[in-house]
């Protein structure tokens, strides 16, 4: 950037958090170098018009979410978020390790509960968790997998260290935006992709399908897989239909399913068809009116019974919520050591459990400088950020904590890392998190290279959830070149192809003749003029 020229980067100034693109001295960090220069060459207007084009393609494709009853294009920021290959070398095994721990914990909790007997996790913690379902205790998943799909939320603190903020092992959503963000961005910046060696994300659907196939009950070779959606009015409906479409399986609603004699069927125009694997995107509570909420119309009666008989696999398993409880979260480092005998690769965010009197006492005095969260909240609901909260909000939350200490945790305010984001005032740093998605097929945990980067669009805002007005970014994980290099064909095969004669393309004989005649006529006319 030359000093006298005005580019989109003019005036870009990192705030006190870790900025992933530019360090404190204004020097561009390595992974971002190419993105920086690409944008540097554009004018501000060009950047805005590309951003507008992105929004309009999303509207046409129907990549939308419901906001106050209105369909809006899902906000995708024009500046990608780049994760270097060396960072991914930490994140990917770290997430896989986390998933293996969660699997082991769930198998234990719904099995013999060794972790309780060995004193790692207090029994009352599990017994009081509202997502611990005794009715799920007897269900043994076919290939031992309960967390088929997980989303582990990561943040980067002031020192650039990746930390786990939250585990999602019930019905983590957002992967469709990873896929469609990539599709849109690759059309917007085609040349950058090849040059930077961005790792592809498209194989997610095949991976998911393979994992679901492998978890089918019994020895079914070609199981019938369905995606169970709450319906077209669900805010994640786009995702459900995209996954069903790209996996090539049926998307069903609860009313499409029937159970007979402990087997699950879907209603088709040619009669009933047996279902073997249900990738459900309906919460536990609504899954089966017999086992859970009797008023639910979203599930199908008898599903849990069929799963218990081993006639159908429900993915993710019922009762997973006990593991992504925010209190269990605080035990995760211990559990990793306990089950795997490994030290956790990705650290937690320091957390106080408010049910412990000492911790509560310490926190109560410092509420105004901490973040307090309800343990069973999702989507950023109920989170109080101390420094930004008013007196009355703090008093209210204080009373709530004293009333139900089991229901709350406290954490120091983490200045989430920032990434340049296009705002009304040009490029500015905005806080982001990252949700990488992992698929467990029973043998291996595969982490999608990329993930959903959520960005808080308002200045200084730390809550990034899309239900709170957050946007998203395409996440580019570098280091795809080596893999691609293996796949390029050896030179001799190209020579062989070049030696072949091309098959001519036919055309209407009159047209060809006419062309020749014209040529001849022109040539004959030449000498006379």
């Amino acid at each position: 950037m030359t000093a006298d020229q005005h580019t989109p980067w003019t005036g870009y100034q990192p705030v006190q958090a870790w900025d992933e693109a530019v360090d404190v001295h204004g020097k561009v960090r390595d992974p971002y170098r190419r993105v920086y220069h690409e944008i540097d060459r554009m004018s501000g207007d060009d950047l805005y018009s590309r951003a507008e084009a992105l929004a309009s393609t999303y509207l046409a494709q129907g990549v939308t979410f419901d906001h106050a009853g209105e369909e809006r294009p899902f906000p995708l920021d024009i500046v990608p978020r780049v994760v270097g290959a060396d960072e991914w070398e930490i994140i990917s095994p770290g997430v896989a390790q986390r998933v293996r721990t969660l699997e082991a914990f769930l198998a234990d909790v719904y099995g013999s509960q060794h972790c309780v007997n060995d004193g790692i996790v207090p029994r009352r913690l599990i017994a009081t968790s509202q997502y611990f379902y005794r009715s799920a205790a007897g269900i043994d998943p076919a290939n031992g997998v309960r967390v088929h799909v997980s989303g582990i939320d990561l943040v980067r603190d002031q020192h650039g260290i990746w930390r786990v903020l939250e585990d999602n092992v019930r019905v983590p959503s957002g992967v469709s935006y990873v896929l469609s963000n990539r599709r849109a961005m690759s059309q917007m910046f085609p040349d950058m992709f090849g040059a930077m060696g961005v790792r592809p994300v498209l194989e997610y659907s095949q991976r998911l399908r393979a994992a679901l196939t492998r978890c089918a009950p019994g020895d079914i070779d070609d199981p019938t897989i369905v995606v169970l959606t709450p319906g077209v009015f669900n805010s994640a409906y786009y995702e459900h239909s995209l996954l069903a479409r790209t996996m090539g399986v049926e998307l069903v609603e609860g009313r499409d399913l029937e159970t007979h004699n402990g087997r699950v069927y879907m209603r088709t125009t040619a009669g009933r068809r047996r279902v073997d694997v249900i990738y459900r995107r309906v919460d536990d509570d609504y899954l089966d009116p017999v086992a859970f909420r009797p008023d639910s119309a979203l599930g199908a009666p008898g599903l849990v019974h069929a799963a218990r008989l081993g006639n159908v696999t429900i993915a993710n398993a019922i009762g997973n919520g006990v593991a992504d409880d925010k209190l269990i979260y605080t035990y995760m480092p211990d559990l990793t050591r306990y089950y795997l005998g490994e030290d956790p690769i990705l650290p937690n965010v320091d957390t106080w459990r408010l049910e412990e009197p000492d911790a509560r006492e310490e926190v109560m005095d410092r509420l105004d400088e901490l973040v307090v969260k309800p343990v069973d909240g999702a989507g950023g609901k109920g989170v109080i950020i101390g420094p930004k909260a008013s007196r009355s909000e703090l008093d209210a939350v204080r009373a709530q904590i004293l009333e139900d200490p089991r229901g709350w945790i406290a954490q120091p305010v983490i200045q989430l890392s920032t990434v340049p984001t296009l705002t009304e005032d040009g490029l500015e740093p905005r806080h982001v998190d990252l949700r990488p998605f992992a698929i467990n097929d029973g043998d291996d945990v595969w982490v999608l290279p990329g993930g959903l980067t959520r960005v808080a669009l308002a200045r200084g805002q730390l809550i990034v959830n899309s239900s709170q007005g957050g946007g998203s970014k395409d996440t580019w994980v570098l280091g795809g070149e080596r893999q691609r290099g293996v796949k390029t064909p050896p030179p001799e095969s190209r020579v062989e192809l070049g030696g072949m004669d091309a098959v001519p393309q036919a055309a209407h004989p009159d047209d060809v003749e006419h062309g020749q005649q014209q040529q001849q006529q022109q040539q004959q006319g030449e000498p006379s003029c």
């Binding site: 509207l59 046409a60 494709q61 129907g62 077209v232 409906y237 239909s241 995209l242 069903a244 479409r245 049926e250 998307l251 069903v252 609603e253 009313r255 499409d256 029937e258 159970t259 007979h260 004699n261 402990g262 879907m266 209603r267 088709t268 125009t269 040619a270 009669g271 017999v290 009666p301 008898g302 019974h305 218990r308």
Partner: protein, 307 residues
């Protein structure tokens, strides 16, 4: 194919075809109002609305007709509503229809608000017909000829037979001499095909025959009834339970043969009555198809099973 999806596909077919034909119908109607110097506009408008089975208050102004049948997205009879409903059904069947078809329906819905009543209606009608053509073209180029295709084609041919029957009823409107047969042929995009087939000037019998029973022209009533019958036979599992789907074919076949084996003069003498018969047959067939393919075979009651 899931019953719920099949139902959505069936209705996408019907809605897109309905929008296309409503645009044609309105275009003819406005044309007649312009060309006929002795026209009694309110009663002609009222006849049109009653043919389309809409409620109205007399006297009916041209503005009301356009709102009811073209622009008002709140009324189920309007093109705007129909295209919106087609898109909602496509959203429900999103994983079965191709991305191209989905995007064309979605874009159509998104562009609808640009066309307000103040724009020249004729341009709107051209646009609607174009959008329908885009949808059909993409549908035909990207859909496997399996049940997904059959159910949409079924809805489409039923709707087309029904709408052409309604269009022909405009011949006998109150307060106007009605559109002449050349106009009717043109509005069905049939004029050139007619001239090539019949090789004669437009006469009433020949033109009526062409639109009613021509076996090759894709906008004749008999062609579409025949196609709906054939499609019903192609749907997977049609042979398993014969009764209901066969009753649908029976209704369609009866209406078709009634036209084919009757003297064209006799049909013309009772055109409104005969055309209503066609519409009724389409309605009956549609209900039977719903009972056979879209509704659960029996209501399943769940009772506690012993572990």
């Amino acid at each position: 194919m899931l019953s719920r999806i099949a139902e959505s596909l069936f209705w996408i077919g019907r809605y897109v075809e309905r929008a296309d034909n409503t645009a044609r119908l309105l275009d003819v109607h406005l044309n007649v109002l312009l060309e006929d110097p002795w026209v009694d506009e309110p009663s002609a408008n009222a006849s049109l609305l009653s043919v389309m089975n809409c409620e109205f208050e007399t006297p009916v102004a041209r503005r009301d007709v356009l709102a009811t049948l073209a622009f008002d997205p709140e009324r189920a009879s309007s093109i705007a509503w129909t295209l919106g409903a087609a898109r909602e059904n496509a959203r429900r069947a999103r994983e079965v229809i191709s991305t191209e078809v989905w995007e064309s329906l979605n874009t159509t819905r998104n562009q609808l608000p640009r066309w307000t009543a103040s724009a020249r209606p004729h341009e709107f009608f051209v646009w609607v017909r174009e959008r329908a053509a885009v949808v059909w073209g993409l549908h035909s180029a990207t859909t496997s000829r399996d049940d997904a295709w059959h159910f949409m084609e079924l809805g489409r041919s039923l709707e087309r037979a029904d709408m052409i029957a309604r269009l022909l009823m405009t011949r006998h409107f109150e307060g106007t001499s009605g559109p002449n047969w050349t106009t009717l042929l043109r509005s069905c995009s049939a004029h050139e095909a007619y001239l090539r087939t019949v090789r004669a000037l437009v006469t009433e019998e020949r033109a009526a025959e062409f639109l009613l029973v021509d076996r090759l022209f894709p906008r004749s009533i008999a062609y579409n009834l025949q196609k709906a019958e054939d499609t019903l036979g192609l749907i997977e599992g049609a042979s398993n339970s014969r009764a209901l789907s066969d009753r649908a074919r029976l209704a369609l076949g009866r209406a078709r043969t009634n036209l084919e084996y009757r003297d064209v003069r006799a049909v013309l003498d009772d055109l409104p009555g005969q055309m209503q018969e066609v519409q009724r047959a389409c309605g009956t067939a549609s209900d039977l198809i719903r009972d056979r393919y879209f509704l659960p075979a029996s209501t399943v009651l769940w009772s506690q099973e012993a572990l």
